[in-house]
Amino acid sequence: DTAVSQTPKYLVTQMGNDKSIKCEQNLGHDTMYWYKQDSKKFLKIMFSYNNKELIINETVPNRFSPKSPDKAHLNLHINSLELGDSAVYFCASSQGTGGVGYTFGSGTRLTVV
């Protein structure tokens, strides 16, 4: 069983479109995250939810809107996609906010054309 699963694995879309990436974890963790990895492999946190509440919201355009329907799911919706949004997006989860058991999904490669 995949611990943190993201869908889709690949996403190619045109500028201006709206798209969503889904994430689910079956580890029983209470904290979930979205990270963006750029072409130089630099990983930067975007959002973090603890028990469905937003606790970290880094400087991210408000075109990006996370939604956590329950502790096991954290989805990312992106409006009006831009070329610069092209990157690999990783979902992760942990138990608590102290970094215990940090587990990443396998990523969603988003390409905006």
Binding site: K41, F42, A92, G98, G99
Partner: protein, 109 residues
């Protein structure tokens, strides 16, 4: 903003050689983690060090947390081609994990 600098950025060595990767910051972290990432996959947690001066070993990998909890090193003994990958350090501070820029290691047979 807390920054973590990793060095070297790239490392290409022959099988059997030893290597050390460094992770440095001017900030203090409550803990520091090391990850390894393969192409097309997410980072996989290797180790977490918490106490200043702490040393942890994972087979041929030795991780050390600096006394002041601002820096860390990863030493690999007798590297093997299977060690090839992107190694990332990440510091935990203020409930947030900050990643270094990564060290891309290639071990040639």
């Amino acid at each position: 903003t807390q920054l973590l600098e990793q060095s070297p950025q790239f490392l290409s060595i022959q099988e059997g050689e030893n290597l050390t990767v460094y992770c440095n910051s001017s900030s203090v972290f409550s803990s520091l983690q090391w990850y390894r990432q393969e192409p097309g996959e997410g980072p996989v947690l290797l180790v977490t060090v918490v106490t200043g001066g702490e040393v942890k070993k994972l087979k041929r990998l030795t991780f050390q947390f600096g006394d002041a909890r601002k820096d860390s090193s990863l030493h690999i003994t007798a590297a093997q081609p299977g060690d090839t990958g992107l190694y990332l350090c990440a510091g935990l501070g203020g409930n947030m994990l900050t990643f270094g820029g990564g060290t891309r290691l290639m071990v040639k047979p």
